[in-house]
C-alpha cells in the first residue's frame, strides 16, 4: 500500500513537472518518467499487457519522437507563455485535488470489489476475438490521423 502511494505521488509530481518545465526537452523526459511509473502501477495491479504498451509506446516511441522533433526545431524561436498559466495551473490542480479527495473518498468505499481475476485469455484473444469492433475504430482513427497530417501539411497552392 505504502509503495503504491509513493508511486502515485511520484506519478503526480512527474506529470506536473512535464507541464511546468520550461525546457521542452526536460518536459519530454518528465513525461517519459511519468509513463514509466504508470507502467509499474499497471504491472502491480495485474495488467501486464497495458503496462507493456505503456512502456513501449508512450515511454519509448513517443519520447523518441518528441526528442527528434525538438532536435529538429530551430533554436531561438521560443514562445513566451503568458504568466497567468503559472498561477492558473497550480490553482486548478489544488481545487481539483480537493474535489477529488472529498468525492472519491466517499465513493471508493462504495465501489464493489470485483473478483481480482487475472486477465482472461491471451492478449491476442482479447484483442482479436472480444474487442474486434474496437479494431475497426482504431483503423478509422489511424486513417483520420494520416489524412489530417496530409491535409494540414499540404502545399497551399490554390487557396486564396
Amino acid at each position: 500500500m505504502t509503495f503504491q502511494i509513493i508511486l502515485l505521488v511520484a506519478l503526480l509530481l512527474a506529470s506536473a513537472a512535464a507541464i511546468l518545465a520550461k525546457d521542452l526537452l526536460k518536459s519530454a523526459i518528465a513525461l517519459a518518467v511519468a509513463s514509466l511509473l504508470l507502467e509499474i502501477i499497471f504491472f502491480q495491479m495485474g495488467a501486464p499487457y497495458a503496462g507493456v504498451f505503456e512502456i513501449s509506446v508512450v515511454a519509448g516511441l513517443i519520447t523518441v519522437l518528441f526528442m527528434l522533433t525538438i532536435a529538429l526545431t530551430k533554436q531561438g524561436d521560443d514562445i513566451r507563455e503568458s504568466k497567468t498559466v503559472k498561477i492558473i495551473f497550480p490553482l486548478f490542480f489544488i481545487v481539483f485535488a480537493l474535489i477529488d479527495f472529498l468525492v472519491m473518498r466517499g465513493i471508493l468505499a462504495r465501489i464493489p470489489a470485483l473478483e481480482a481475476a487475472a486477465e482472461t485469455g491471451t492478449f491476442g484473444d482479447v484483442l482479436w476475438k472480444e474487442r474486434s469492433f474496437d479494431l475497426v475504430g482504431q483503423v478509422a482513427v489511424i486513417l483520420a490521423g494520416v489524412f489530417a497530417v496530409l491535409a494540414l501539411f499540404r502545399k497551399r497552392d490554390h487557396h486564396d
Partner: protein, 484 residues
Amino acid sequence: MIFLYIGLPLAVAAVLPLVGKASKRVLPDFLSNAVLLGLLVYATTGARALLAQGPIVQQVRWLGEAVNIRIALDGFSLFMLMTIQLVSLCVGLYSINYMEHYGAKANYYALLLVMVAGMNGLVLSQDLFSVYIFLEVAAVASYALVAYGLGAEELEASFKYLMLSVVASAAVLVAIAILYGMTGALGFDAVADGLRLLDANAVVGVAAALFLMGFGLKAALIPFHAWLPDAHPSAPAPISAILSGLLIKVSGVYAIARIFFHVLGMTPALSQVLMWLATVSIVVAAFLALGQTDMKRMLAYSSISQVGYVVLGIGLGTPLGVAGGLFHLLNHAIAKSLLFFTSGSVQQATGTRNLDEMGGLAKKMPWTAGTNLVGSLSIAGVPPLGGFWSKLIIIMALIQSGEWTLAVIAVLASVLTLWYYLILQRKAFFGKLAERWTMVKEAPFWMTAASVILALLVVGVGLWFAVVFSSWVQPAADALAKGF
C-alpha cells in the same frame, strides 16, 4: 448489411487519396457522393425494412466466420443514420463547387468520409467503449477539417476546438472507467443490469456528471460552448454545415440521450439538470447571436440555442417531449446546414462574412436569398415550416408536464430567434444593393442545388409533418423510451 455504414465510407476513404492521383476532381466528387447517396437510399429502404420486426443486433461475418463485431439498430439509431446520410450527402454535393479553391479535394473527401463513418459507428455501437472510440474518430477528422483552409484563424480555432474536445473525451473516458470498475461490463444492457443490482447512487451520480460535462462540451451546451463560435465559422462552409447540423448532435445529444436513457436511467434530478442547462443555452445563446455582425458566427450561436431546444425536449423525458426533441433535431439539422450553405455562397461571392458590409444581395443571388429565408423561418419557428411543428410539440410537452416557466421561456426565446434571423436576412439580402456588389453572381450550380434540396426538405417536412413524424420520429422516440 448494416456494417456497410461504417465499412464502406472507411474503405472508400482509404483509396481516395490514390484515386486523387489519377483524377483530381471528377472521380473523388463522384465516388464520395455516390457512397453517401447509396447509404441514404439504404437507410430509407433496406435498413428500414429490416427494422420492421423490431430492434436487431447484427453479427458481422468475415470470410464466412463470425467475428465479434455486433452492431445494434433500433428506431433511434436508424433515425440518426438517416439524418446523418441526408445532411452528409448535401454537404458532399455542395463541396463539389465550394472546395475547388482549397485544393487536395480527394484528401478532403477522405476526411469527410472518415467523419461520417465515425458518426455512423457511434450511432450503431452498443457498448460504452465503442462509443468513445467512434466519438474520437469523428472528432479527429473534424479537427483537420476545421483547419482545412490553413489560415491563421482556422488553425487557432481548430486548436481551441482540439483542446476543449480533449477535455470532453477525457471526462467521458473517466466516466466509462468508473462504470466499468463498478460493473465489470461495457455493453449498454450489461452495465444497466449491473447498476440495477448495485446500490451505488453516489457513484452513478459522479459518472453522470462526467458524462454530462463530456457530452455537454461536444454538444456545446452553455457553459461548455466556448469552442463552437470559433470553430464553426472558421471551417469551410460545408464543414460548418456538417459540424453544426450533425456532429454536435451525434456526439453530444445522441450520446447523452442513449446513455442517460438506456444505461444510467433518467432520474428526475438528471432531467431537471438537463432541462435547465438547455434553457440557459437557449436564452443566453439567443442573446449572444443577436449581437453578432459576422454572419456565420451568428449562425453558430444560433446552433447552441437550438441544440438547447433539442436537449430541453429530450431532458423532459416524457414521450411527447422526447419525440419533440428528436423532431427538432432533424429540423435543425436540415435548416442549419442550409443556412451555412447559403452563408458560404455569400462569403464566396462577396469575400466577406460581415453583415454590415452586405445588403441587397437578393437582387444578385435570388436562389441563395430565397433558400436562406426558408431556413431562417423554419428555425425561428414560423408555420408551416418544419421547425414550427417541432417547437410546438416541445412546448406542448412542457405545458403537459406542468413546466410552465420553461414553456414561457421557450416561446419568448423563439421570438428572439425570429428577431436575429430577420436581422440577418434584412442586412444581407434585402435593402439597396451596394455599389461594390454589382458584379456579384449567383452561386455555382451544385452549391445552389444543395441549398435548394435542403430548402425543399424544410418545406416538405413542414407540409407533411404528420407523415414524417409518424414514420421516422415516433419510432425513434419509442426506441428511446424503452429504457425508462
